[in-house]
């Protein structure tokens, strides 16, 4: 009976948890941005105006988020084209746009939509892209992200990340919930929730599973949960702390941290929880293992030399080499998808900030201007870094371009957000 009551309360709380959304705020700008005009898509039927607007708004917000586009105001242009034949190029040259997006939305039977869009080069007066989608109405936002990715890829020359997902922990009303959301912070889904802390979510390379640390057993234990079935297994519940999971690039193993010998050391374990093997042996703290994209090397945080610094060693274990040398406190290493850049948290005279180190030249650049930054991770195209920071005493998500020129805050609506990780491209 009592259990049922608790379950009822849990159900009552669910909507509160899953409705906490994040919105994007741009707080900086790149020197060179492509000016683009996105005309609100026409409705060929009586679809709600707010809904049609959504497409162009979402596409615009995505492109703005990348920091590489200047999204122009189109309200000043009286004639809004929806078909190629309706485009009056002089109108668009007049507001100095280089690219123009137009499109239509048509309602189909069975709550489906036909969305078509075109990308036009205004200077050359030719069509760069044309695409049609037949989708269920609930996929409208996802389709807008796909369109933004196509525009991004066509004009920038590399894959976009707007249709990818992020994960983070949201603390609200004394409960912790691990959530997965679209890259822009919308459409959050709760993966697991607990009144004890949840930390360190790590995406499996195929994006179908999350490994994370839960304190629900009154101590840190590593779980692996399928995002498809919702089923989860205890990956590591050994004596002491079990934490800091990181998947190997082939998805067969995870590096984890155990305090088996009283001191945090790095171990490798198969994804089904078998075959535990210790790979780091030091008298200091060794934690936050991060696999290199080629699987050969593990980067990690260690205080073996005094304060915490980032080191690397062969993934099968072996001699460790120090990687960071600037400053007395460098933690939370994450590698770019090409393995050439390292992002981490660096303590400087003005607090804890996101830094990027070029692993070839050793050059370090501090990206953020906030003071309590945590857990940076690269977007799958390596262009941006997602991290957690604290504004007004509450955790929030932020993203910065790798060159540090563009920074934006993903503003939440009430929760205390931490521990973000950017997922990979699906399929």
């Amino acid at each position: 009976m009592f259990k049922n009551r608790l379950f009822l309360i849990f159900l009552l709380l669910l909507p509160l948890i899953s409705h906490a959304e994040l919105t994007v705020e741009v707080v900086g700008g790149a020197a060179q941005q492509i000016p683009i005009a996105i005309v609100p898509f026409s409705a060929q039927t009586q679809a709600e105006p707010a809904q049609q607007d959504n497409l162009s708004n979402v596409i615009g917000a995505d492109l703005r988020l990348s920091g590489l586009f200047r999204v122009l105001e189109t309200r000043g242009v009286t004639n809004h084209p929806h078909l190629l034949s309706e485009v009056k190029y002089s109108d668009w040259l007049g507001i100095q746009t280089q690219a123009l997006t137009i499109g239509t939305v048509e309602s189909l039977p069975g709550n489906r939509l036909k969305i078509s869009f075109r990308l036009i080069d205004v200077l050359k007066q030719n069509q760069l892209l044309a695409m049609e989608f037949n989708i269920s109405a609930s996929q409208q936002r996802a389709t807008a992200h796909r369109i933004a990715d196509m525009i991004y890829e066509k004009l920038i020359g590399e894959k976009g990340v707007f249709a990818t997902r992020i994960t983070y922990v949201n603390k609200e009303n004394g409960r912790y919930s691990l959530q997965v959301a679209d890259a822009d912070g919308f459409n959050p889904q709760t993966v697991v929730s607990s009144k004890e802390p949840l930390i360190s979510p790590s995406w499996s390379p195929d994006g179908t599973k999350l490994a994370y640390v839960s304190f629900e057993k009154k101590k840190p234990v590593v779980f692996v949960q399928s995002l498809v079935s919702g089923q989860r297994i205890v990956l590591a519940n050994f004596k002491g702390n079990n934490s800091a999971p990181c998947w190997s690039p082939d998805g067969t193993k995870l590096a984890i941290v155990l305090t088996y010998s009283a001191n945090s050391q790095i171990f490798v374990i198969n994804a089904d929880g078998t075959g535990l093997k210790q790979i780091s042996f030091s008298n200091g703290i060794d934690t936050e293992p991060e696999w290199s994209p080629d699987g050969s090397t593990i980067y990690f945080t260690s205080n073996r030399g005094g304060g915490p610094q980032i080191y690397r060693m062969p993934a099968i274990g072996g001699e460790a080499k120090r990687v960071t040398f600037e400053g007395a406190y460098n933690v939370s290493p994450h590698l770019s998808p090409d393995g050439k850049l390292l992002t981490f948290i660096k303590q400087g005279p003005n607090g804890f900030k996101v830094a990027v180190q070029d692993l070839t030249s050793g050059q370090v650049q501090t990206l953020s201007d906030t003071t309590e930054d945590e857990s940076p991770s690269f977007a799958p195209n390596g262009r941006m870094i997602l991290y957690a920071t604290s504004i007004g005493g509450r955790g929030t998500l932020a993203a910065a371009s790798v060159d540090g020129r563009v920074k934006q805050r993903l503003r939440d609506t009430g929760g205390d957000v931490r521990e973000p990780a950017w997922g990979s491209w699906l399929n």
Partner: protein
């Protein structure tokens, strides 16, 4: 009529569940502890007198006060504080560590959990490891004084129990190991 009944039922269940949660979240709720702590008191008696003699507090009436709860007894002090990114037990906490070591050796059935914590700056994972090292540092300090391994459990909350601090005075409070006796 039926609706209002349902509503009040819902409200009632909410209250029940909430109040129960509140109890669960406070591990050291004094009401729960009283019955058990009197049991602990008996074997602890010899230690009390020693400690009471050592403290320059005004003479207390000779009743079986639990030394662990007696505010005049150093054993009631349970927190050892650390410097930023450090796990050394500072000299000023030696008397506290020694008093608990003495109590634990005198009461071989008593058990403690050493809970390590860190302030909320830097990495959560590094802080989890740092909290662990702090609790192990306290364990080693009492081990040296004769306390057996089986009496001690070390755990770390990292920065998960830290307050949202803005200044050093506040951060300082979070960098600590709490000594929690079993059944407390």
């Amino acid at each position: 009529m039926k609706k209002s009944l349902l509503m009040s039922l819902l409200l009632a269940t909410t209250l029940v569940a909430c109040s129960n949660n509140a109890v669960k979240e406070k591990p050291a709720a004094p009401v729960v502890d009283n019955s058990k702590s009197t049991q602990v008191t008996q074997p602890a008696a010899p230690a009390i007198k020693e400690e009471a003699a050592a403290t320059p507090a005004p003479a207390q009436p000779e009743i079986a006060v639990n030394p662990l709860k007696d505010p005049n007894n150093i054993l009631s002090k349970r927190s050892i504080y650390f410097d930023f990114d450090k796990d050394e037990v500072k000299a000023e906490f030696r008397p506290l560590v020694e008093a608990h070591a003495k109590y634990l050796t005198a009461n071989p059935n008593a058990k403690v959990i050493l809970q390590g914590n860190a302030d909320n700056r830097g990495s959560r994972e590094y802080n989890l490891s740092l909290g662990q090292r702090r609790s192990v540092a306290v364990k080693k300090a009492v081990n040296v004084l004769g306390v057996q391994d089986k009496q001690i459990e070390t755990i770390s909350y990292g920065e998960e129990k830290a307050k949202s601090c803005k200044d050093e005075t506040c951060y300082q409070q979070d960098r600590r190991v709490d000594i929690v006796y079993e059944n407390e």
